[in-house]
């Protein structure tokens, strides 16, 4: 067989073999993509030990989208939003503009909840346990954050997430997050981030 024909055959074989194997393998009950706007997102953030509401915690929602090409997809940032909990530790993140205009195959948002001196959601939190997809939809959920101990625990906790994972320009897009991360860094004797 001439080389180009072998290549076409191989290509076709792989493509056709790939399709059935990919079929029906999504986890049960897990939606990867937004099928419709799911916001606004609600929740309450409390101290895991005292159950006291945590006012002023920042809540970040990050949407990724899967840009699909023939037999190929690329995950990329779509949008990011932030809000801050009120005196009762509650937050309401209205993402109507983001989600109504969301392209197909936009993932459900990922959340980050952070308050200086506390563990963050979803890197170091107490509850909710188990499956957390969609927990901030509808009536929302209560998130319990543990107060962190010594400086060592607090600084290593900051290694678990970084503002640049949420935005290339976090000072522009996520000023409340940056303010709190810098508050935490200063509190434990680290240099703060500064705008580029």
């Amino acid at each position: 067989m001439i080389p180009w024909l072998r290549l076409v055959a191989l290509c076709g074989g792989l493509v056709t073999a790939g399709a059935p194997a990919a079929w029906s393998q999504d986890p049960q009950g897990w939606d990867r993509y937004l099928d419709r706007p799911r916001g606004p997102y609600r929740g309450q953030v409390i101290d895991a030990e005292t159950n006291a509401p945590l006012a002023g915690a920042v809540v970040v929602a990050l949407w990724w989208r899967n840009r699909v090409y023939p037999f190929h997809s690329v995950a990329e940032h779509y949008a990011v939003r932030e809000t801050v909990t009120d005196a009762e530790g509650r937050f309401l993140l209205d993402a109507k503009d983001v989600e109504e205009g969301a392209p197909r195959r936009t993932y459900h948002p990922e959340f980050l909840i952070f308050q200086p001196g506390y563990g963050s959601y979803p890197r170091k939190y107490v509850s909710p346990k188990g499956f957390t997809g969609g927990i901030f939809e509808g009536p929302g959920a209560i998130v319990e954050l543990p107060r962190l101990g010594d400086r060592e625990e607090r600084r290593k906790h900051l290694w678990l997430f970084g503002p640049h994972s949420y935005s290339d320009k976090p000072f522009r897009d996520l000023p409340e997050l940056m303010r709190r991360i810098n508050t935490e860094r200063i509190a434990i004797g680290l240099e703060p981030y500064s705008p580029e």
Binding site: V8, V15, A21, Q25, H72, S73, R155, L160, G162, E196
Partner: protein
């Protein structure tokens, strides 16, 4: 023909891009990489060895170092780089990439200095820049880039924990990696448990991987983290040990979507001997489907390597297949990989991805040099477990943070583990002066174990030392036992103290360009060396010692004048002894035989009402003694350092209120007076006497 070519091109492009979904998704890579960074020794090494005082907390070019690491893990999949992220551990490395030759083996890609742009050696070069580039900005940029490069290197290791990447299986749409990412996003507790550890041990690679023979195609030992060449296709049991490449472990023990029971495949690119049908048993498990619990039958791995988890679902046509004894090669029963299989896989593969990534990060910084001593005599030891053979160079930062090589401080040495270089010396840099005297960056570049062009950086403190040699100005003999201090002229702090030895030498730590010498105990007044044989009473007047003040032995020689105070004394004419002495209550008696049984007896009683020394230059008055004093203080108590420069000059006056009684009498041998006394005179005077600086 043109249409055929176009079709072929379309297929190739489609095929190439179709594989992008097979890697761990980029956010998964990011988190695996962050976790590996946290578990590695990076933080400690950055702080203790490389001089990055904030360790992984450091913000470089606007991002934390953990973010740079994570960014590398995220970006290695950019564009079509993912085509080079496959490695079939059973193939020759030259053809172990995607479909043999569509992409390069991830091992070769990781060491490809021509095409990758982020190869191991590229990262090494960037790390050298981070240690040696002149400007701080360039060094920081290079450090950030080195960390991004390390993130990209561990990305390749992590992909070896993805079955499709080790079984030549480009695959689109939902797959194992999609499930892992989905769990990461929506079930953090489970994902955290995967990160925490594997149900199978060992999950951490045996350090022996570093010692395995290198493959010339990819000589850096990190290749062995992915493929040790110990699993050869017929010995899956070897993959249960710790000395095994991650791709071998994954290849021999797991299925990917389109490589399920392919031990009999005709196409060698798809044929994998293990796991095979003799490796499994069948068992039913309860699974949740659409909200209901149902039983599903699985192939459970029961032998041939790692065991005890679900490998694949049993196909729906399994019974039919067995009942009619159909030919497997003609009728596929279509076992598949479902969520439960993926979860069992991830439970074992994710922790290994982290452990092997951690091993790579630690390997990058494994070299260790320990330096000790002063610049008069210092040495360094190879603290690594491997031999070092290459060039050691010292750098320092000047006051503008410009990093400069220390002139003459480059040594080429071959050191076995624990091998030492001793008795080195260097000239402490003086032009420009260092920002922090004694602080250097020691950079090794050369062979470290099996790595041909390794880099080791170590911030070291080589204490600058000098010798102050004191000699008596009068005769040039050593002045022994003198206390000398080196004082930081900026802070006023004592840097070092020492006593001169038999040769008049005191070895002192010092800060070039910031140190003055204080000589405390030669004369009874403090002296700061002011250059040559001059001295000062104040630190401001002291000579700031420069490296140019030192001779080849780092020694400065100081001729010390031993200062005396002198003033004229009168002789009492009758007794012919000193009219007054500086003693509050003194006496003098003397008998001189005259030869005929008589004695010429002299008796003097001294007393002091008050003696003070008043300096001419500023009128400063020092009380030397009074009537009730236990003794009198030497007038030099009122001297200052500058007086050592004024030998022969009058520096002040003694104001003396003194008394004395001088008696001279001829006595017999029994002490009886013979005749009237020759004299018996009481003196009580107040006088002013000039005091001159004298030298012993």
């Amino acid at each position: 023909m043109r249409q055929h070519m176009a079709l072929a091109m379309f297929c190739v492009v489609s095929l190439l891009v179709s594989t992008s979904a097979t890697a761990y998704e980029v956010r998964t890579h990011e988190e695996l990489t962050r976790t590996a960074g946290k578990r590695s020794t990076l933080d400690e090494i950055l702080r203790a060895r490389v001089g990055v005082s904030n360790g992984l907390d450091a913000i470089i070019r606007g991002q934390g170092l953990t973010e740079w690491l994570a960014q590398g893990g995220r970006r290695e999949d950019d564009f079509i780089r993912f085509l080079n992220h496959f490695h079939d551990s059973l193939a020759d490395w030259s053809s172990a990439g995607l479909l043999g030759s569509v992409g390069q083996s991830s091992i070769l890609w990781g060491q490809n200095t021509t095409l990758s742009g982020w190869s191991w050696q590229d990262v090494r070069n960037t790390y050298v820049d981070a240690l040696t580039r002149p400007t701080r900005s360039d060094r920081e940029t290079s450090l950030a880039k080195a960390f991004e490069g390390l993130g990209r290197q561990v990305h390749l290791v992590q992909d070896a924990a993805s079955p499709s990447h080790t079984r030549n299986d480009p695959h689109a749409l939902f797959n194992y990696e999609s499930l892992v990412e989905q769990v990461r996003r929506q079930d953090q507790n489970t994902f955290a448990s995967w990160l925490a550890g594997s149900p199978d041990t060992p999950e951490v690679p045996d350090p022996g991987w570093q010692m395995l023979d290198s493959n010339p195609l990819a000589p850096v030992a990190t290749a062995r983290l992915i493929d040790t060449d110990r699993y050869l296709g017929g010995n899956p049991a070897v993959t249960t040990g710790a000395l095994i490449g991650l791709a071998e472990y994954t290849n021999a023990n797991f299925f990917s979507e389109d490589r399920i029971f392919t031990e009999n495949e005709v196409d060698p690119l798809k044929r994998f001997p293990y796991p095979n049908r003799s490796s499994v048993t069948e068992r039913d498990f309860d699974v949740r489907v659409g909200g209901a619990t149902v039983q599903r039958r699985y192939f459970v791995k029961s032998t041939d390597g790692v065991t005890g988890y679900r490998l694949a679902t049993v196909g729906l046509l399994r019974d039919y297949h067995q009942r009619f004894n159909l030919d497997w090669t003609r009728f596929r029963e279509s076992p598949a990989l479902d969520e439960a299989v993926y979860r069992d896989n991830a439970e074992r593969l994710v922790p290994r991805a982290v452990a092997y990534s951690t091993a790579l990060l630690d390997y990058f910084f494994r070299g260790l040099v320990i330096a000790s001593g002063s610049d008069l005599s210092f040495g360094f030891v190879n603290g690594s477990d491997e031999a070092m053979d290459g060039t050691f160079t010292l750098y320092y930062d000047d006051g503008s943070d410009v990093r400069r090589p220390v002139p003459g401080a480059t040594w080429t040495r071959a050191l076995a583990p624990a091998g030492a270089v001793e008795d080195l010396s260097l000239s402490a840099p003086s032009s420009p002066l260092p920002k922090e005297p004694g602080k250097y960056m020691l950079v090794f570049r050369g062979v470290l174990g099996s790595e041909r062009d390794a880099v080791v950086g170590r911030q070291v403190f080589i204490e600058p030392m000098m010798v102050a040699r004191l000699i008596k100005r009068s005769d040039g003999t050593p002045y022994r036992g003198a206390a000398v201090q080196a004082i930081d002229v900026q802070s006023g702090e004592v840097v070092a103290s020492g006593l001169t030895d038999q040769d008049g030498r005191a070895r002192l730590a010092w800060k070039p360009g910031r140190t003055v010498l204080f000589i405390r105990s030669v004369n009874p007044f403090p002296m700061y060396w002011a250059g040559a044989s001059s001295f000062s009473s104040s630190i401001e007047g002291g000579r700031v010692v420069q490296t140019t003040d030192l001779d080849a032995q780092r020694q400065v020689t100081i001729p010390i004048p031993l200062i005396l105070a002198s003033w004229p004394e009168r002789i009492e004419p009758c007794t012919e002894v000193q009219l007054f002495v500086h003693q509050p209550r003194g006496s003098f008696q003397q008998s001189v035989p005259l030869g005929d049984g008589r004695l010429d007896f002299v008796s003097v009683t001294y007393g002091v009402n008050l003696i003070t020394f008043i300096r001419d230059d500023n009128g400063q008055e020092t009380t030397l003694c009074g009537d009730t004093s236990p003794g009198c203080v030497d007038p030099r108590a009122g001297f200052v350092g500058e007086d050592a420069n004024r030998v022969g000059q009058v520096v002040g006056r003694l104001v003396r209120d003194m008394r004395a009684t001088h008696v001279r009498q001829i006595v017999d041998e029994a002490g009886g007076a013979i005749g009237p006394p020759t004299c018996n005179t009481d003196y009580s005077e107040v006088e002013v006497i000039p005091v001159t600086v004298a030298e012993e």
